[in-house]
Symmetry: C2
Subunit: 150 residues, 2 copies
DNA sequence: CGCAATTAGTTGCATTGACAACCATATAGG
DNA sequence: CCTATATGGTTGTCAATGCAACTAATTGCG
């Protein structure tokens, strides 16, 4: 008789990769929901770019690629969407005619005060009830896992 | 003067959600690479469906939705791709004319022996050098995080 | 029985993302 | 100086996914 613990589905569910994917998928859809309920048509990826720009505006697209680990076409198109929403504008770089500097608009800057509390609340719910020590181990482990495959 | 540790980018990088997303993105692209290097045109999502079918073939699409946590359109289109590759076939259900039972083909079944070693090697690399205790805490924490947002 | 509500699955649309090909500009080496 | 190469960014293609709308078949209730 086949040992149930050698079934692949079971093996799969013991792999961290499985849980990372599962949590991420759920995070992504919930993030969509939060923004939608706030009356915004914003994607999680646009959010991630916004956070970087709040930290430092006037980045080139290549710099955004580096900080977000996304490739050039992806950033290009995420910015298309953000520009259409009026949150950022692309400006010419006086030093290099190839590069385009991405700057927050007034409207993009204004989102910070509105969205940070929402997202902080979500993060709090996400991590609710989990001992700080476990969170720390998990954070450290995720960093090591990331190094292992990068 | 602004404390750099209150900058949003820094805050962001302390959030588990950030690392979950980062690790998952990397997992996804590396998984693509592994299959491509094995001469297969297979996506990580098709792989996930295959694993479920190796465990139990002849599932309905709704059952696949439940086990993979994907929605109906997504499963429908993932199966389109797998059918095109000849790994699965959709059969009519004698009990219910609405449902379609998904069965592995000979070719889909044959992939198991070929791919499991590859993926197990990848998972080993992924978790390499991390203490078993940390992996266990991380697994448990990911499960709790998942519950928190589901 | 008969019609309303439910369920299984597909299709349409927009965004992300992997990847290749491409354009324009900048840099480096002869 | 001038051509080869490298770099910044865009476009195209295909697949995954969130969501709404839809078809077809089934179930449930009066």
């Amino acid at each position: 008789m086949r040992d149930q613990f050698t079934d692949h589905g079971i093996v799969l569910e013991r792999a961290l990769a499985f849980w990372v994917q599962r949590v991420q998928a759920q995070l992504r859809t919930q993030t969509y929901r939060i923004f939608r309920e706030a009356g915004l048509s914003m994607t999680p990826e646009q959010w991630a770019v916004l956070v970087r720009l709040w930290e430092r505006s006037d980045m080139t697209q290549t710099e955004l690629c580096d900080t977000t680990l996304k490739d050039k076409p992806t950033i290009s198109r995420i910015l298309d969407g953000m520009e259409k929403q009026g949150w950022v504008a692309r400006h010419a770089d006086p030093q290099d005619a190839r590069t385009r500097r991405v700057r927050l608009t007034r409207s993009g800057r204004a989102l910070e005060a509105r969205l940070m509390p929402l997202v902080q609340g979500f993060v709090a719910d996400f991590e609710r009830g989990i001992p700080e020590a476990d969170l720390a181990v998990t954070r450290r482990t995720l960093m090591r896992l990331f190094d292992n495959i990068s």
